[in-house]
Each structure stands twice: as C-alpha cells, then as structure tokens.
C-alpha cells in the first residue's frame, strides 16, 4: 500500500461517516476492508462514536505553540550554523534578522486620509565616548580607539568593539543611544551581541575587566550573551537586574512603561527586582512592576516578543493601547485616542516593521474596530 493510498482511504472512511460516499467509492472502501482483518477492525473503530469523540477531544487538547517556538529556535540556529561556514560571523546576524518572514502583502493605498508618508524606523544612533564626546553613528566612517579597544562599524547598522589587550585599568564607559524611530546592533568586547530597539540606550564598558560583565539598559534590547562561566553577564534596568552566564534573552523596560519584562529564548537567566528574584527557563518571562519589589514568572510567546528584532510586529492578543505604544516608538509619532475605551480592543496578527505607517494603520482599520487619521506626526484613533 503506498503512502498516498493511506490518505485516500481516510477520505473514503470520512465520506462514509458523513453519508456522502458514492457507490464506486463504497466498493473501493469495501475491498480495502477485506484486505486484512486489521483494516476491518479499524473501520469498525472509526464508526464507533465514542472512539471518534475521544479522538477529537485528544486533537483539541494538543497545543503546539511551545513546540513551534522550539522549532523556530532550531531553524534559526541551523540557518546561522550554515552561514557561519562561509561568511564572517559579523555579517551573519545582520542577514538572519528578518530573513524568516516573507511578506507578499501590498495593501492598496488609496485613501488620502491616511497619506502621511511616515517612514518606519531605520538604523540611527549616537555614541557617547568615555571622554563625553558624541559621535553620530549614521555617518561614522572611521575606527575610534579608546584605551586599547578599537570601535568600528561593521556594516550600516552595527558597531563592533575589538579588544587588543586586556587591561586592568578602571573601565572606560560608552553609551549607545537609539532615538525613537531608530534601531541599532552592537557587538561588545566579549563578543556578546546586543540588538537595541527604538528609544533605547545601553551603557557599557569598552572592555570587560574584573569578575563580571555589567551593562546598563533603558528601553528594549535583545541579548545574545557569549558564554563565560567565570564572568557573569549582568544587565541593570530600572530597579531590576538580569544575570546570566551565556544565553539569549529579551529585556524591555521603557521609562514610560511601569513594568520591566525579561523574556528568555534559551539558556537560563536569573532576574531580580530589589530583594526578590526568579530563575527563568526558555519560554518564560519575568515581570517586575516599578510599584512593587516582587517578580512574577509566567509563560510567554518568545517569537512574538523578539519579533521586533526579526523585522516584524507580532500582535498576539495585544490591546490597541499596547500596539499604538510600539508604533509610536517605531515611527516616532504621537498617539491620541478620542475614545479611551478603544485602547482595550485586542488584536491578533502580524505586520512587517518596514512598511510605511499608512499601510500598518490601514491593516488595523480592516478589522472595522477602529479608524485612524494622521496630522503632522500625530495619529488620531477614533471609532
């Protein structure tokens, strides 16, 4: 019996159950039943309502989401592994970000109400050096040398720190600031990669000396930390601290957000808020509110949370209020809700981050739940 035949037989049995089988098909099913006693036994089982019901309930109970997230990670690693063989490691991640999703969608832009022409964010950032001077990273085209560490732009949206020698002097600190509407990646001196989202900044030593690797974040970033069991990597964000040895995780804590979120993609992270701390496993998220000194732990959709890094907004059961906050940062616009109740509507779906603002708003409008208009750099949300 070849494989395709199996699928045919299952369709014949279903047609029989539904009472829509033709005479010719019924003959065919009958001859299959006679081929082997097990065939007949299966047929009888499938005609048994209780068996069928149990089977449907079992299907209903399977939740493939966690397995799916795990597969996305495996696929990502595989793609990276393959690329590493023949492209310099620095170029790898730049390609990987955004290569997983393909979008053929082109919405018609005909309404003039949504014709702001506001472009999405792009690589834009400034770098403050240890001596206080500020360099605009968009136009930086030379190497900068500070205390034995060479800073270079490896491509249009990435900065690398290359350490020539380890020094025991007190570390020099740099700070990368990404404005609203921008994004930037950097590779720290220990090889750790950091993706900075719009409206974020990271303060870090140009070289890591001593017993820990400590950096300071405000806003949102995705970390891919190079393993170094001897020197834990610590990120301070608001009142919270995330501590790891080598792992991938996302940290988000904007100043206008009363909560800090730490979401783990792989490895393990200890996440603390004042006196309390939790140990996170992959797929878990630590939630720390400014108003308390506790940390909660919950399951999270990692793919959704790190989508920004891969060039997508994924909106899984998010409220319009949360969605518009992200849009405000990415497109550098202000948001005005005419009716505050609109903030509570929840949406599902995905939007490419590299689309114009008008396209994104039109997509949201298609649900019929809310309407938008843009005036200068303000988006008005109404019914």
């Amino acid at each position: 019996m070849d494989r395709e035949e199996l699928f045919t037989v299952s369709r014949l049995i279903l047609a029989e159950i539904a009472g829509i089988i033709t005479e010719q098909q019924a003959d065919r099913l009958l001859s299959w039943r006679k081929e082997h006693p097990e065939h007949e036994a299966l047929y009888q089982r499938l005609k048994d309502k209780r068996y069928l019901k149990e089977g449907l309930r079992a299907l209903e109970r399977v939740d493939g989401r966690r397995a799916r997230e795990e597969m996305y990670l495996r696929v990502r690693r595989e793609k990276r592994r393959r690329l590493v063989g023949w492209i310099a490691a620095a170029a790898v991640i730049a390609c990987a970000a955004g290569m997983f999703y393909f979008h053929l969608y082109r919405p018609p832009v005909e309404e003039t109400r949504l014709a702001s022409g506001i472009a999405p964010g792009s690589p834009r950032a400034t770098l403050q050096l240890a001596d206080g001077s500020i360099v605009l990273l968009d136009t930086l085209d030379r190497c900068i040398e500070q205390g034995g560490v060479e800073v270079a732009k490896s491509n249009h949206r990435q900065l690398s720190y290359l350490s020539r020698a380890t020094s025991d002097e007190s570390p020099l600190f740099n700070e990368v600031r990404v404005p609203r509407g921008g994004e930037f990646d950097l590779v720290l001196a220990d090889g750790t990669r950091v993706w900075l989202n719009a409206g974020s900044s990271l303060r870090f030593p140009v070289n890591f000396s001593g017993e820990e690797r400590r950096v300071f974040l405000s806003g949102e970033a995705y970390f891919e930390v190079t393993r170094d069991a001897a020197r834990p990597f610590r990120v301070e964000i608001a009142e919270c601290l995330a501590e790891v040895l080598g792992t991938e995780f996302n940290l988000s804590g904007y100043d206008d957000d009363p909560v800090v979120y730490a979401t783990l993609a792989s490895g393990s992270v200890s996440f603390s808020n004042g006196p309390s701390s939790v140990l996170l496993s992959p797929g878990e998220q630590g939630v720390a509110r400014h108003s308390s000194d506790r940390v909660e732990k919950r399951r999270a959709n990692v793919e959704e949370i790190v989508a920004w890094k891969n060039g997508m907004f994924i909106l899984e059961e998010q409220t319009l209020g949360e969605i518009m906050q992200k849009i405000a940062r990415w497109y550098d616009v202000e948001i005005a809700f005419l009716d505050p109740l609109l903030k509570e509507i929840t949406f599902k779906g995905r939007v490419p981050r590299h689309a114009n603002l008008d396209k994104v708003l039109l997509t949201l409008e298609k649900t019929g739940e809310a309407r938008f208009s843009t005036e200068n750099r303000t988006v008005v949300v109404y019914r």
């Binding site: 019996m1 494989r3 395709e4 035949e5 199996l6 699928f7 045919t8 037989v9 299952s10 369709r11 014949l12 049995i13 279903l14 047609a15 159950i17 539904a18 009472g19 829509i20 010719q24 098909q25 065919r28 097990e38 065939h39 036994a41 299966l42 499938l46 309502k49 069928l52 019901k53 089977g55 449907l56 299907l59 209903e60 399977v62 493939g64 989401r65 397995a67 799916r68 597969m71 996305y72 495996r74 696929v75 595989e78 999703y101 979008h103 053929l104 969608y105 919405p107 059961e317 109740l341 509570e344 509507i345 949406f347 599902k348 779906g349 995905r350 939007v351 997509t363 949201l364 649900t367």
Partner: protein, 194 residues
C-alpha cells in the same frame, strides 16, 4: 471587547495548500496548528505507553529533518508521508532499544500497524478540520449527530429547537461537507489513483 483577527497573509483558517507553502517559507504557525497535533498523537500511540514521554522529541526531530529538505515536498501529503515514515523508523529503533518488540513480530504486521495508525489519525484529523470549517449551529448539530450519536429528536430537545430546523442545519452541514470532501476525492480520482 471583541477579539478581531486582522490578517496580512495568514488566514485564521488555513487552507491545506497553504500549509505546505508556508512551511517551506519558514512560517510554521499553520503547520503547528493543523499538522502537528496529528503527528504527536500518532507518535504517542506508536511508541506505546512506556516511551510516550519521548513522543515530542521524536516528532520535533522528524519535523526538523523535513524542514531541512523542505524543497523536496510537492504536496502536503508528501510532507505528511515523510513525517509518518520517519516517526515510525525512529519509534521502532526506540522500541528495539527498550526491547519492546512484541508489537513488531513480523514486517507484514508492522506494515499493517503503521498503515492503520496513519489512516486512523488522518481520518480523525480530517473530521476535526471539516467540523471546524462549519458555521456554529451546523457544527454543533453535526457533532451531536456524528460524534455523540444522537438522533434528530434528541438534538432538537437538547438545543430547544424544532425537529425540522435540526434537519435543515444537518442538511446544510452535509452540503458543505460534501463540497469540501468531494473536491478532495475528485482530485484523487483525477490523479488516477482510484
């Protein structure tokens, strides 16, 4: 407030043809929604109770292998066939390791067990998806009839509807199912398999 799905390419109800296409493009949502549950249940059954904790790894390994050769599948059935076969091979080697070979006395029996397990799983998954595509009342009535085995009068009593409206819902549901199924069956007939 309500929960509305807006969509830029990925529909809430995934059509069969698109599952393969998306899988090949590296978008796994529809695959994990529609194909994965069947594969997991199949594997659990195939591995038997002693080893069912290995089921998830077994399925994931097969899916990952399939993903690596994603360009070689020309239909969703070909992809599923590959998955079922690799899961079986994996399961047999696990069973051999655990010396639980009673189920695989001869290769003929092994083959029949494999075939019936696939058909079993596919039939239930097909019914599940067909029911899922019916409108609310039609689905309810048909589930009560097919799955719970209730008579029209009993369904009417439970739903507080008249006997004739139950008949109407049922007829409509059958009509929808017939359209969906006959298309699937017709395609197979045209392929010259029948």
């Amino acid at each position: 407030m309500n929960n509305s799905a807006f969509d830029m390419g990925s529909q809430v109800i995934h059509r069969e043809e698109r599952v393969l296409e998306e899988f090949r493009e590296g978008r796994l949502e529809s695959f994990y929604e529609t194909v994965y549950p069947s594969m997991l249940l199949f594997t659990t059954r195939f591995l038997g109770e002693q080893a069912d904790f290995l089921a998830e790894d077994c399925v994931q390994d097969a899916i990952f292998d399939a993903w690596k050769r994603r360009d070689s599948f020309h239909s969703l059935q070909a992809l599923k066939g590959f998955l079922y076969t690799s899961i079986r091979n994996d399961a047999i080697s696990i069973s051999r390791k655990e010396q639980a070979r009673r189920r695989y006395l001869s290769s003929r029996e092994e083959e029949v067990f494999f075939n019936t397990s696939v058909i079993d799983q596919e039939t239930r998954a097909l019914l599940y998806r067909a029911l899922g595509e019916l409108p609310g009342m039609e689905r309810k009535v048909l589930e009560m009839s097919f799955v719970e085995g209730l008579k029209n009068v009993e369904i009417a009593g439970k739903l507080a509807l008249s006997d004739s409206s139950i008949k109407k819902y049922k007829a409509n549901a059958i009509k929808i199912l017939r359209q969906k199924l006959s298309r699937a069956l017709l395609l197979l007939l045209l392929a010259g398999i029948s």
